[in-house]
């Protein structure tokens, strides 16, 4: 299995090549091209199991898609295909090593190899609602490549000590990190008037991927300028 990022930058795209017998899963809709021998199966079930319920949880609470597509070669030769996210920006391959799990936030998960189990992780009502409105995150475990995308540039940070991040800029993090949703400022008034309100505070040791720009901020800027549907 080979996952390459092409045209890294404003309009990054991923090219996946599968040897016969290998499988790759992505959110449905990310596929934009495939070799003639590519077999595509779409269901609400991901590799990690679960049925309609797991699809519903993904779609309703984790801002990911209800349907997942599974790709494989249909014949004895390698199959290749391309995956792209919706927003302009960079993509990154995260290699899972079986030891540390990664959590994807805010719809940043694009796809992953066969050895990676994906599941939704309930954040708790307080964290979920205050930390950007996602009640669930996507939890990935196992071994193999996992693809994430971001709005703008992706920034990988080695967290030691603590890091505060605006939830709109959070892409993914290793679950060796602990996080809490806190006021951005010390006081409630300052938190509110500074426009930040709540932010995620990560502590411990581990990697975190941030995106340079916030999809919710850009959407919030465009929305009021567009007519109601």
């Amino acid at each position: 299995m080979n996952v390459d990022i092409l045209h890294q930058g404003l309009f990054a795209t991923a090219e996946v090549t599968l040897a016969p017998g290998e499988q790759f899963v992505s959110e449905s809709g990310a596929l934009y091209r495939g070799s003639p021998n590519l077999n595509i199966e779409t269901s609400s079930r991901a590799l990690g199991g679960g049925g309609i319920l797991s699809g519903l949880k993904r779609a309703m609470f984790a801002r990911e898609s209800f349907f997942m597509s599974t790709y494989a070669s249909r014949d004895g030769s390698p199959a290749s295909f391309g995956l792209s996210p919706t927003l302009p920006g960079e993509m990154q391959v995260v290699q899972l090593d079986g030891a540390v799990n990664w959590i994807c936030a805010g719809g940043s998960y694009v796809g992953s190899g066969t050895g990676v189990t994906i599941d939704t992780q309930y954040q708790g009502l307080v964290k979920g609602l205050l930390g950007g409105g996602n009640l669930m995150f996507m939890k990935t475990s196992g071994t193999g490549p996992m693809l994430v995308s971001g709005f703008g540039r992706l920034i990988e940070i080695e967290v030691e000590g603590s890091l505060t991040i605006d939830n709109g800029h959070l892409v993914a993090f290793q679950d060796s990190l602990q996080f809490s949703v806190t006021k951005a400022a010390k006081g409630w008034m300052a938190s509110f008037f500074s426009g930040e309100m709540f932010a995620c505070r990560f502590t411990g040791k581990g990697k975190l991927i941030a995106q340079s720009h916030s999809p919710t901020a850009f959407g919030g800027l465009l929305g009021p300028r567009l007519p109601e549907r």
């Binding site: 930058g9 404003l10 302009p88 920006g89 703008g152 540039r153 920034i155 940070i157 000590g161 603590s162 890091l163 505060t164 991040i165 605006d166 709109g168 800029h169 951005a184 400022a185 010390k186 006081g187 008034m189 300052a190 938190s191 008037f193 500074s194 426009g195 930040e196 932010a199 941030a210 340079s212 720009h213 916030s214 901020a217 850009f218 919030g220 800027l221 465009l222 300028r225 567009l226 007519p227 549907r229």
Partner: protein, 217 residues
Amino acid sequence: MEIKLNGNPDFGEAEVHLASGESILAEAGAMSRMSDGIDLTTKLLGGFTQSLLRKFLTQESLVMGRYTAQQPGYVALAPRYPGTVLQQQVSGQGLILTGGALLACSENLQIKPRFGGVRQIFSGEGAFIMQCTGDGSLVLAAYGAVVEKQVDRPFTVDTGHLVAWEPSLEYRIKGAGGIKQTLLSGEGLTMEFSGSGRIWLQSRNLGGFTHWLRKYC
């Protein structure tokens, strides 16, 4: 204080590195991430009444966030839209900014919202412009790339493409053609600058983009 600009010209952000005790003022909501030991407080721009008036009239932010380092660290600031961030040293006559152009500034700069007069209301960029004076660093955000021009002869600009200009320049608002043409073309209004000074423009216009999107809503 050291300001690092990353990701220009398509997804620019500013990473502001602060020594202990240093602080930076930033547009409300601009913080994307920050290290440990940075305190966030707020600062009203130009007094309470004016801030409130400005918020009410223009929906622009009432306050700025003040990020103060209790220990050496950084705060990363991102505009809401993709494009370029630009650092500008301000001194002497200062600089005039359009409403959404200010991303951050050092604390020794004074930012005063100024009612631009009736002519400004019709510019389509909000009724307020911001006057920046003092000695310090300013970080501007532009939608698209930034074009800097030295103006010595009359110079015409589409209002939606304006980021900042030096106060030595005079301007007046004009329709691109007649009123009818202005309303029909969607081209908005133009500002005609005269005098001598520098001007900063953005290569794209957010109003133009949303106008285009509206057709598909």
